[in-house]
Amino acid sequence: MPTFTYDGKTIPFEPGETIIKAAYRQGIEIPHYCWHPGLSSPANCRMCLVEIAPPPGQRGMMLDVLEWDAAIGDYKPRQKPKLQPSCQIPAAEGMQVKGDTSDNVKEARKGVQEFLLLNHPVDCPICDQSGECKLQDYWVEHGQYQKRMRDEPIHKPKAVRFGPSIVYDAERCVMCTRCIRFMDEVAKDPVLDMRERGNLNEIFVAPGKELTGHYTFMTEHVCPVGALTTVDFRFKARVWFLRTAKSVCQGCATGCNSHLDYDPRYNKVYRYRPRDNEQVNAYWMCDEGMVSYKRAHEGRLIEPRVKGSVVAVKKALAEAKSYFEAVPGETVAVVLSAQHSLEDNWALRELAGAYLGTRAIYATGLAEGYHDAILIHEDKNPNTRGVLELASGVRPFSSLLDDIEAGRVTHVIALGGETPADASAELGERAKHALERLQALVVIAAHEGLLAHAAHVLLPAASWAEASGTYVNAKGIHQVTEKAIEPQGASEPAWKLVADVGQALGYDTSWTKLKQVRARWTSAPTVPDATAVSPSPQASQTP
């Protein structure tokens, strides 16, 4: 790999890569506002200027400048090397680049900071970016001057609604055009543009249009300052109170990598932010995914129930045992869930295969929905591939209904509250009647849903935000989420509840730690010989 040097450090690069990107991949940040690794580079903020030594045998380009000399009280002519934007100059073999070590660069960065802050209202207390703002960070690193402008700053429109989800503040905008370029290049919906010049520069939405669609939240996340805020998050929390867990979006089979920001003091999740992963989601997430953090608190099941009334966990387990006494293995079925992690599903499959001796394995999950060519997948479950990996021949939800109606299945242990029937009235009606015919339905679920409502015994499972888990996305990539908040109410990780149910039924289901679960499924990848043929647990594919 060819290399160049930045401040004496050797940095390898792919041919054609810009200096800033090569340095970024090495973990060296050259200060920047307008550059974003996933967008084109207009080089309009000039924060990333660097000094590049001229090629051997050539003279560098010099600029004549006048510099104030306090000693003689007059301006003095001087020559300065011409600085170049590292976000647009492709790296070249042996190039010598100076950033922090060059006084000219330092002066330029300070100048750019001062320029950007000329009219910027320093209203950090009411700005939601506070604590995550590049203007603050770089001011501390490269600014630290006294403000020289004594005039009233130019005032520009504040709180302009760009659409249902985004509010714009022109005073805070540094005109980096990242939002414009994002809508243009990634979302392919070029509704944003810039108007006016100089001091009156502002971003606006194309007349007669609104900033809507499936990728409006991303404009807020690419904005390096607090000019764009989302209606969903603004004024809700201060970022310095939030802790972050590396998570995976549960919204669809794309499995976008994300940061789940939560407040440990209130055990509450506040937002999703995209996490860079070139292989999965690059730097982006969709709007539906970004608001799906709310599912950590909405529609949650947090109490064990027996036939709808709240009981203690012990009581619920005893109840489950009484249902399953002296039941022939053939009539017992288990239902895996594409909404749950690999660990949870493994535990249930293990219970089914090794202990219950059932071969009837079914799967549920949400029905298919909207998809596009950018990120959003039609499969709305984060772990369909994972379920198929564990039990390749699982049968869809509708064939569970068939089997119940035909009397082949009378006892069910199911994971996950949601089914494809939740979205369709017709299937829902049928499922309701079928589930009523069951003699026993034990459901381990984190969220409300048809199965959870029909359950005889309901055990509350921890949601993806409350337990670490592995999810396999549509491309087959295994991704592990971190635990964020503590389990709410009486909820516990589903794999643990499965073990408890197994023990209540008298089996030696001995996994009590996440480590054990992971070690066991990787060492013993036995797949029970499920007899059915459907390639996907998506029941919505059947009528």
Binding site: H155, A159, R161, F235
Partner: protein, 220 residues
């Protein structure tokens, strides 16, 4: 039979030494003379205080600790003047229109070492001139029982919205609930000179003095 054993006294550290040791004398061991000495001191103060009170010769309470005078005052009829920078109970300052200057930035509750400030931020309702670009405290609660009166909240506030210049100190309420000061009470408390406003005004968006621009799409 097992007897309860108390933990042993830890050994003295190596660098420990006795500061002073008073040899017991017959006078101290009998203790009665010492008691009479103490009573004599108390009676001397009692008669001097009574005499000064009757003759109206009370010394200035500020210099009293220096002067050889009376060392008690008849609180609460008489109060010691507090120093200029005394930290009284909190108040929230108001703008001219009576709205709180606080923008719910949570800087004070972040700085507070006792973690006794709770704030819930919110957006001004539709139609308010500050709607959209300014936050305000929907809830602002200070637990004055937990407060250690360090004044960090006042230092931290970028808006001069919280002050400790009421001149009030916590009076002995009879329930804990009464020490929980909420937004309305905090806004209603005045500074020592009776003002609800700040001594530190500035022009803000929404005020008439503010030289902002207006454009057609600014309203929402």
């Amino acid at each position: 039979m097992a007897t309860a054993t108390f933990p042993k006294k830890p050994p003295s550290p190596n660098n420990a030494y006795v500061v002073a040791h008073v040899e017991p004398t017959p006078a101290t061991q009998v203790y009665l003379p010492e008691i009479f000495k103490g009573l004599a001191v108390a009676m001397r103060h009692f008669f001097r205080n009574t005499k000064e009170m009757v003759r109206n010769e009370r010394p200035d309470p500020v210099t009293e600790s220096i002067a050889q005078g009376i060392t008690t005052i008849s609180y609460p009829e008489q109060k010691r003047p507090y120093p200029e920078r005394f930290r009284g109970l909190h108040r929230l300052t108001q703008r001219d229109d009576g709205s709180p200057r606080c923008v719910a930035c949570l800087c004070c509750s972040t700085a507070c070492p006792a973690q006794c400030i709770f704030i819930e931020a919110g957006e001004y309702p539709e139609g308010d001139p500050r709607r959209g670009y300014e936050r305000y405290p929907v809830k602002f609660v200070i637990d004055e029982l937990r407060c250690i009166f360090c004044g960090y909240c006042v230092e931290a506030c970028p808006c001069d919205a919280i002050r400790m210049d009421t001149g009030l100190h916590a009076v002995p309420y009879d329930s804990r609930e009464q020490f929980i000061y909420r937004k309305d009470l905090l806004l209603a408390q005045a500074s020592r000179d009776g003002s609800h406003l700040t001594a530190n005004p500035r022009h803000e968006p929404g005020d008439e003095t503010h030289p902002g621009v207006t454009r057609e799409h600014m309203t929402h």
